[in-house]
Symmetry: C2
Subunit: 346 residues, 2 copies
Amino acid sequence: MIRPLIWEDKQLKILDQRRIPWSVEYLLCSTSKEVEECIKNLSVRGAPAIGAAAAFGIVLGAMEHGSDSKDYFSISLKDKAGSLMEARPTAVNLFWAVKRMLKKFENIKDNKIKEIVKGLEEEALLIYKEDIHANKKIGELGAFLISKEDKVLTHCNAGALATAGYGTALGVIRSAYKQGKKIEVFVDETRPVLQGARLTAWELKEEGIPFTLITDNMAGYLMQKGVIDVVVLGADRIALNGDTANKIGTYSLAVLANYHKIPFYVAAPFSTFDLSLTDGELIPVEERSWEEVTHILEKRIAPEGSKVFNPSFDITPHNLITAIITEKGIIENPDHNKVQSLLKES
Amino acid sequence: MIRPLIWEDKQLKILDQRRIPWSVEYLLCSTSKEVEECIKNLSVRGAPAIGAAAAFGIVLGAMEHGSDSKDYFSISLKDKAGSLMEARPTAVNLFWAVKRMLKKFENIKDNKIKEIVKGLEEEALLIYKEDIHANKKIGELGAFLISKEDKVLTHCNAGALATAGYGTALGVIRSAYKQGKKIEVFVDETRPVLQGARLTAWELKEEGIPFTLITDNMAGYLMQKGVIDVVVLGADRIALNGDTANKIGTYSLAVLANYHKIPFYVAAPFSTFDLSLTDGELIPVEERSWEEVTHILEKRIAPEGSKVFNPSFDITPHNLITAIITEKGIIENPDHNKVQSLLKES
């Protein structure tokens, strides 16, 4: 089983995803700052995984108090929470998890510090376990949408590595495969950071699920040829109307799938919904360093001084999404009313 | 001036495009086999450039005769021509140029060998010069389609490097820029071989034309944001109905441009039209080695043993093309009748 995060001996072990597929190494975090750094430098990435990591970051922050003053403890914890929330701007799971941890803190803040730390640890472990549970449920529900010999296109990595474990889009794929469906996965390499080529291909290989790696610009050709039956990918933030922020390139795939009348599914847990945003235009899109584009594996591929634009995400409007697969149900042709009613039911 | 091919001292100097942007080095070819190898290994690439290089390859082949037997000379030349034509399958300019050289040979085959070689050399130089002339004319005509502050998206390299000089799509961009238009070019990096990041960015930097480099999957996002005004790119083979084979990813851009109502222009000389094919489905699409996808600059980016699909080109149907810019005129909303009538006029 692939475990991107391991909470052990009051420390967080983070699988260094920058080194996959070349090696499998864990980074040991014993401070909230170290967790924050791992989120910033992409050692841990993927919206649900970032959320779970940040929750453990809060626990580590609480363990660092170094004083018995409750006032100082509270100020210090909130400061660390604020800092963690600034690590990356697009995936809402980060804010969701940190806010949930702070809410827990509010509920138990009158206890002794030792008990508060224990309470926070329990909450982080709950977030972690709930995410795996949600993923498995997403996989189970989503597998109904995959037919027995489907060619499934996915983009970036929405796998075990992107979550507490199991995966959202890859959770759907895993479940379909486990049911004996003879699927084949087409994996977009996903420039610039190559999460598809490095991470998704690695996960699928580990599980023995047949896959074919392509460059991002080949997906349209495969759709035109009638090869792709269905697109399944993850999300970093979903607005109340169903508009979805996900890895750059997702929007292009949605337009292409729409043109070729291919079902386009987003798989994500409830923690990815942002209840404060009415539509996708309000989702902040992170821009990352130009070196991600001009360099690959530290080697320059473009002339020196090339100007670069490097948005990490794009926003797919809900009308291009066939359905959103959540742990509580599938939202077909998502819109404001349908998203609202599923969220309220739960 | 960028010169991908230099015919000098009865030898062909080929600018090694595999080494750009890191270094500018010429490979010296004195046999048709060496030219063939340069075409195969992408030292020279781009449909018109391949055509011109192959023409010089025929001259070198004729110079290699090593015997005064006319029969042997003819057999040997045709054998070399056949071998050159097998170097790459998609760009029709290769076959066009070799066939034109063989036609020239038929016309002068009763002369002495020395005179035949001279005649073939003249024909190759004519192909070379005509291509530069065609490019400049394409640039001149195409520049009318570019408005004064346009943001122009291009894919792969259809520049001086892809032709005898000046370029087709980049010829249009060069001409518009020379007219004082304050354009900005958005350059798709063009995986797997990175002709955009390596070659187009290098050409634009050399000329001081403002450009921004993006990964291929960012083009749709820029279109959605209203940043891109027009798409201009080259072609490797155009069928009689206007269907166009070009670098993989072109078709996706055409669908995206169509969805966003952005003009989508193909710039190509007459030598890129294949008069024998009624539509694009008949164009053979080259598949290249899996290492182009699994490795970047010789470093592996995917798990070992990953299965890969690597088509080098795709076919864009004519109904997604706003216009084809040729040296003889612009074919708006290209179809069989319009392409036919322009070809006949000339």
